[in-house]
Symmetry: C2
Subunit: 680 residues, 2 copies
């Protein structure tokens, strides 16, 4: 879960180059990469006569998937299909066949085979879900010449490595409307993610309508909640895409919102519970010693369970520091009476009672890894999130849980809200080189990327989730040997832009924010800056959780910037290559970037000033000055002391966070200036 204050480091077993070889030898842009793929001669041409048929009998879900496939293919190719819907029978030139309609769960067979020849595409699978996976792969195979679009001849046999491939979205800290969820569900399906973990409650809000306890949504949501009908709608939408929905109701901690509505359930009498506006770990906690607490959970969960058909049900259980328990004498007395030595033991007492409630409702309880204590039954599911920085050993709780007999899911290493590079997530292997028995291995269900929403709004959430989550999806689906970062990045770029077909805003909202910043002036100078700036990482934006409130502005420059800034890697690589290989001729790419930045401040200066862009002025000016001097030095092959001093002084400034971003080419600029200093 979301340890806000403590700075986490990515744990897991980092796959170095030593482990496995890249198996991706083709130029195809499929992601996640299939289990087995062989390119074949031939091409299937996509033209107006293309048709698709589903030969199996019951096919509601796959019918929709096939229709959406046709729409996206039309959108991408501009081809006007004569038949816009799947046909009955076997007459079509894309044929889908499967044995049965799946009920979604961890046992679902998601495998499929796909074969493309000159005049026929066949997708075969055991379940409709497998067939839908085949359609997603087929769409990604779309290629073109100058004159036509086609699918290349191919044979694919595919199945996932892990059965649980999830994305968690926190809708408590910033509410995300149904439309945001739906477009992200579509994107999940496009990269074969199959679990949407819906973090519905937290200190900052309770986001579900409750008819049994209406104060929950009335008093603890600021009016921003899902009606039960909307919940059903989202769950049905996900199911149609082959995605399971796991709700999370976080207890006993992270309970400020619940206690705003029902303070009598709290652990500290007289405390003024209120919806939390800041970020962090807070004290309000359910009282585990009162009968009404369990009565409340019994009634609430009984109401919620029918909305969420999946058998797994997440109760959070994380980051309860027990401060209010310590401050409550009745709770201390209760602990003594029941021989519960620590707050952790008290929480286990609570968890065991909650699990009984859920078991009676035919649910399997899941919780963050704090719930794994010696007394906790192995029927619960452990969601591993903590690593070395939370005092856990290397390997964390995932392997531990599996060995102890728990089903388990990994999120440590996949905290996308930390805004770290795609590479850093991609190279986290959930299992690594640990040796496991078959039973232990089967208990490792998979993993989840976690989108905590302290700093994201509907305007920016897509750019925080995508495209990195597509690479994580590959980690969860593909074989562990698939670890070539450069190849992944090439494919990711293609996959990322095609997600725009689904309405995803991760690319287009950059310009929306920059237009807003400039009050609709020419944004090209800001775009140039945004391509070398990344939002501050690892919770160093919003220090201590109190720089931003939930209703602060999130349309600042940092919100327009994204991880893996577009121009940074090519420039940084060009500099490295230039320095290591320099034979006296100047690298064209290095100069191209330097000159672009050298002239950029000219454009920036023409902008009519306002308080949103002013903080960037010095950065823009410094960067242009440095880039200009370095460019001149590289071309003239001379360099004055004064120029060097100017560069150093400017670099000191650029090396600090500015306006909640870091400039991710500074290191390369420093290298370049040292090189120039030594050389000329």
């Amino acid at each position: 879960m979301n340890k806000f204050i403590i700075i986490l480091s990515i744990f897991g077993f980092t796959l170095g180059n030593a482990i496995g070889q890249n198996q991706v030898t083709s130029n195809l842009n499929v992601m996640p990469w299939p289990k087995e793929l062989s390119e074949q001669p031939g091409r299937f041409h996509i033209d107006s006569t293309m048709t698709i048929s589903i030969t199996s009998e019951t096919h509601g879900r796959v019918h929709m998937a096939a229709t959406n496939f046709l729409r996206r293919l039309s959108m991408r190719t501009g081809v006007f299909l004569e038949e816009g819907f799947p046909l009955p029978g076997k007459s079509a030139n894309i044929q889908i066949a499967f044995n049965k309609v799946a009920t979604l769960g961890v046992e679902t067979d998601e495998s499929y085979t796909l074969e493309v020849t000159d005049d026929l595409v066949t997708i075969s699978s055991n379940t409709d879900v497998g067939a839908m996976n085949g359609l997603q792969t087929l769409l990604q195979l779309t290629q073109n010449t100058a004159d036509s679009y086609y699918f290349p001849g191919i044979k694919i046999t595919d199945a996932p490595r892990f059965v649980w491939r999830g994305l968690m979205i926190d809708v408590a800290r910033h509410f995300q409307p149904v439309g945001v969820l739906k477009r992200n569900l579509e994107a999940m399906a496009a990269v074969k993610l199959n679990v949407f973990h819906w973090h519905l409650t937290d200190d900052q809000g309770f986001r579900v309508e409750s008819k049994v306890y209406p104060k929950l949504h009335e008093l603890a949501s600021d009016g921003l909640y899902y009606t039960q009908e909307q919940i059903k709608d989202v769950v049905a939408y996900a199911d149609a895409l082959g995605i399971r929905v796991i709700p999370e109701f976080d207890v006993p901690g992270h309970a400020s919102a619940i206690l705003t509505a029902y303070p009598e359930l709290g652990s500290k009498d007289g405390y003024e519970y209120a919806i939390e506006r800041y970020s962090g770990v807070f004290d309000p906690t359910l009282n585990p010693t009162k009968a009404i607490t369990y009565e409340f959970l019994q009634n609430l969960f009984s109401e919620m369970v029918p909305l969420f058909p999946d058998v797994y049900f997440h109760i959070g259980g994380d980051e309860n520091e027990g401060k209010h328990w310590d401050e409550n004498q009745d709770i201390q007395a209760f602990k003594n009476k029941h021989h519960l030595k620590t707050n952790h033991e008290l929480q286990t007492y609570f968890n065991i009672k909650v699990e009984k409630i859920l078991n009676n409702l035919d649910k399997k309880m899941m919780g963050w890894d704090e719930i794994m204590t010696p007394n906790m039954p192995t029927t619960t599911v452990i969601h591993s999130w903590r690593g070395a920085n939370e005092g856990l050993g290397q390997g964390g709780s995932l392997i531990d849980a599996a060995k102890k007999g728990y089903q388990t899911v990994l999120s440590n290493g996949f905290y996308i809200d930390r805004l770290q590079s795609v590479e850093s997530h991609y190279l986290v292997d959930p299992i690594g080189e640990v040796t496991l028995t078959d039973a232990e291995r089967r208990r490792i269900l998979g993993g989840e990327a976690t989108m905590w929403s302290e700093l994201v709004t509907p305007m920016t959430i897509d750019s925080r989730i995508w495209p990195r989550t597509a690479a994580i999806a590959e980690r969860f689906w593909s074989q562990p040997e698939i670890t070539d970062v450069a190849n992944m990045k090439k494919r990711l770029q293609q996959v990322s832009f095609t997600l725009e077909e689904l309405g995803l805003t991760h690319i287009k909202n950059r310009d929306v924010i920059l237009r807003s910043m400039t009050n609709n002036q020419d944004i090209s100078a800001l775009i140039t800056l945004s391509k070398i700036c990344e939002p501050l990482k690892v919770y160093s934006r919003n220090k201590d959780g109190i720089e931003y409130k939930t209703y602060s502005s999130f349309t600042l420059f940092a919100d327009a910037c994204v991880v893996d800034a577009e121009d940074a890697e090519p420039f940084n690589k060009a500099v490295d290559s230039y320095i290591s290989n320099s034979n006296g001729t100047t690298d064209k790419n290095v100069l191209m970037y330097l000159n672009k930045w050298a002239t950029n401040h000219e454009g920036f200066k023409t902008l009519s000033k306002n308080p949103k862009i002013s903080p960037l002025y010095e950065m823009s000016e410094n960067l242009s000055e440095i880039a200009g001097l370095l460019s001149k030095a590289l071309e003239a092959k001379t360099f004055s002391k004064v120029e060097l001093e100017t560069i150093k002084k400017n670099l000191d400034v650029l090396n600090q966070p500015i306006a909640d971003v870091e400039i991710v080419i500074v290191e390369a600029l420093i290298k370049l200036s040292r090189f120039v200093e030594n050389r000329y």
Copy 2:
């Protein structure tokens, strides 16, 4: 309604410069322009201490509006407010006071006064809806210096000219998900539109879940329909924004979808009814002679009425050509028996019966102007859409209806799907210089922009509605004297980009489509072209309704282009000015554009070709050649015969529609080449 085949011309009373003088003398970007506005000394500074209070007692709707106001202001200014929600009491520095909560209807008092001084903003109104209008105006007043944001000192007394200010969205021809509707409702509220006319059924689909007649959504929607819960959600969302929702169930024509589900209601036995995939006027029509038809409508409307609390209920009634009636002997016999001489009389017979059904359900029946016949009771409401091209006289049916005693609403002149200039709509005055009695004037409720969706998808609909509809909103709200087109365009530009705050995609989706067209290559050359190209107008795209099916691709170049192309007007004006004033010195603006286009093909040529961009190649090449030659001629002041011939040949090509767009600078290029020819 949607006369697809017949080419309409804009009717109404065009306001020339002669009528009224522009009253907009300030530099403010308010739209629609208020009734009375006077600028005052002083500035109210927007900083973190800004607070807002609502002093009236019941204020659910206005509380949400005030909260959203704070969010949008934060987004726009980057100011981190200490208080993110309206406060109770009178302590705040923005104070809202109103007398009562309105029930939305044509009698709702929407007026307000707004005053801004150095340290206080007050919004006063009779109803909460008026207060919400005041908040929208206040937001539009936001200004900035280099250091801060502020509202300028001002006093506004405002009220609408017309009580019915609508936008119709056709969700039948292309379904529009709830998210699309919600963001457009937000945009409507931002420009004080107050009626959402929801065209829910047509030949191409029946878009509402019916529990009484489930085949309607099951068989006649391709799975694309609103559940009843979604309908309620949209209606509630609109109500919270002060917007009424008028549903339209189009009968007896435009009935292919209904008859696909229930063919027994049709007028032609044995006809194979099917969801229509093309555009146009089709024959399937309900049978007005059968009792089951009225039983069906009685039951269907009884089911639908509770979903739509507004008293007005639209039954379409347009474009019934009666072909299937003519072909049915029983219907002919029925006409004879009931002395109904024409199909129009038969339709009136039908309409009168339908009106009784609706009256019994406490609804007021509204229909397109074909329903206005001598026998039709004046309790119905006439929606005027036809003009000169449909055989009606100048002035059409609006004034006629008002004089005959019907309430009436104008859409002729506001057919935004015709993709004509904002100016052409803006200058249509619903009443013009006609003299009316007070009673007649009161019966003219207002107008509606109509977004028929033959050629729009969720990807493109926003750019077809906005920003032009904001100017139409001003026509409906503001005084008739507000007719300065240049000033309107200046304000419109500002209003348009701020709509992006609401998630509107009218600006950002251009690049999405261009990225899709190029398979994610550099789109700058295509952007340059898109700024001088407009999609074909007045239904000349999709000739005869059969070039495109409903599921054809709508992510072509034409879909990236918009009306009032960005570079066209400034270039065309610069050319006119240059030609009329030329004293031998070359106009810098003319040259700037010519040089931009002259070099643009260099960029275009670097694009890897594909079938979506290939159709533009010749256009791009021709344009660059012409622009290069003209630029050279203007600078060198010489011009060869060969060059002239090349230009003429190229202009002939550019003067034709290419890839469903027209190049709207061709006329200016022709002028320029003639000028050059004569001069040099």
